[in-house]
Symmetry: C2
DNA sequence: CGTATAACTAACTAACTAGTACATACATTG
DNA sequence: CAATGTATGTACTAGTTAGTTAGTTATACG
């Protein structure tokens, strides 16, 4: 007997389950906002796609904009949790960069809705991120990881000394985000699907090469010779 | 006497000027769609910001969606015209790459509305580009230019032989587009404005270095030694 | 048990929004 | 200078959309 709730053994739509109601609204809203943007998404449609009613959206979230912010908060905290799991401390700096880059690459590929939400939020000048207390002060595990790798690489004389963590993070993100975020216009214009599985390994290696070549290039200053 | 009659040469609101009416609607619509997206933009507001009425939008463009497509067409053809003016044929391949990269960089920086429209269009899965006959078959001067540079660079034994023009174009675009398109969320999270004039030269040089280092790196094949 | 409260539903509304009907002024040309 | 099509403005409408009102039902807890 696969009972879902303590007292109800019926497999019927669980009558009362605030936890599930809330998270179902969030899940559906994530899809809708990511698909159509803030202005394009419809509260009525979000409600219709859940097993509950529109009233519940207002009950739990207070309004369309707050729901959108809740969606952003969930998306960002989820991504950050994943980033925190990355462990490359045991790897040689160059290998660690390659691994971090590959993981970021995989990550963006497997979370297109997140990338879409970020694009949408940029169209809104990041207004909602700034307004959200949760998001405004969210730590960035990927950047911390990268900072440690760069420190190790510099100490070992492997990496250029003027490499800035935020810049390197930007490089990696730029490539990985572009590939997903601009997939459709790029394909319409160049007739090339940047997410074609046949080209996946090629692009994953390319961004790794790119970053490593940058990091191991001379910075024009007296560097400790290997 | 500021007469508005047919024969008045006065600088007063030109009574009849279809050319101006049309282009004014397009200019205002470009700003509105770039600012708020397709769903977020309001036909009434676009009309209010022109010197004409909503009726004229329907008269000239037929509807909101067609107006949006017209905006895209104008934006893309304008950008393509600029790209066509790039002349780097007289430069050494490496210098040509640096110049093309710098021009692309400048270009994206000075056309944020275009980048926004591209982001918006990606949110719409490039549906309108595909529908537009003008856009679907628009040549890409930047890619042609790049292809010729790469050919010259390979012939001179300066560039790796497996460098693909579309891939290289993608690299350049990724960096330049990301910097503009993701400016707001990036700044909200990392407290760094990627468009800060103080960092402009740094980033312009960085993308140039990045691409050149990639192109001059060994491709693991027997290459003509310099 | 019974009652307070949290979870929930259905129906409604006021405001907005894309698009249109209709009337008319202007300009070109025969 | 008539007449005909182009360009334009005003006022309207039908449909949509975020948000609300007024309640009902389940559950926890004394």
């Amino acid at each position: 007997m696969a009972t879902q709730t303590p007292e109800s053994p019926a497999a019927a739509p669980a009558a009362r389950d605030p936890e599930r109601t809330r998270s179902e609204i969030l899940a559906v809203a994530t899809r809708e906002f990511a698909d159509k943007g803030f202005a394009g998404a419809r509260v009525d449609e979000i409600a219709a796609k859940t097993r509950t009613t529109k009233r519940m959206i207002y009950y739990y979230f207070g309004g369309k904009e707050n729901l959108y912010i809740a969606v952003l908060e969930l998306a960002y905290t989820g991504i950050r949790a994943l980033e925190r799991q990355v462990d490359v401390e045991h790897l040689d700096p160059a290998e660690a960069i390659r691994r971090l880059t590959a993981l970021t690459f995989d990550h963006h590929e497997s979370h297109p809705d997140f990338i879409r939400l970020v694009s949408i939020e940029n169209i809104h000048y990041a207004r909602h991120i700034v307004r959200s207390e949760i998001l405004a002060g969210l730590a960035n595990p990927a950047l911390d990881t990268l900072t440690r790798i760069l420190d190790r690489g510099r100490a070992a004389g492997q990496f250029r000394r003027d490499a800035d963590p935020i810049d390197v993070h930007m490089m990696i993100s730029a490539f990985c985000v572009f590939r997903t975020a601009n997939r459709y216009t790029f394909n319409a214009i160049f007739k090339r699907d940047m997410l074609d599985p046949a080209r996946r390994d090629h692009y994953q290696a390319m961004i790794g090469d790119l970053v490593l070549e940058y990091l191991t290039a001379s910075d024009g200053r007296p560097a400790p010779t290997a």
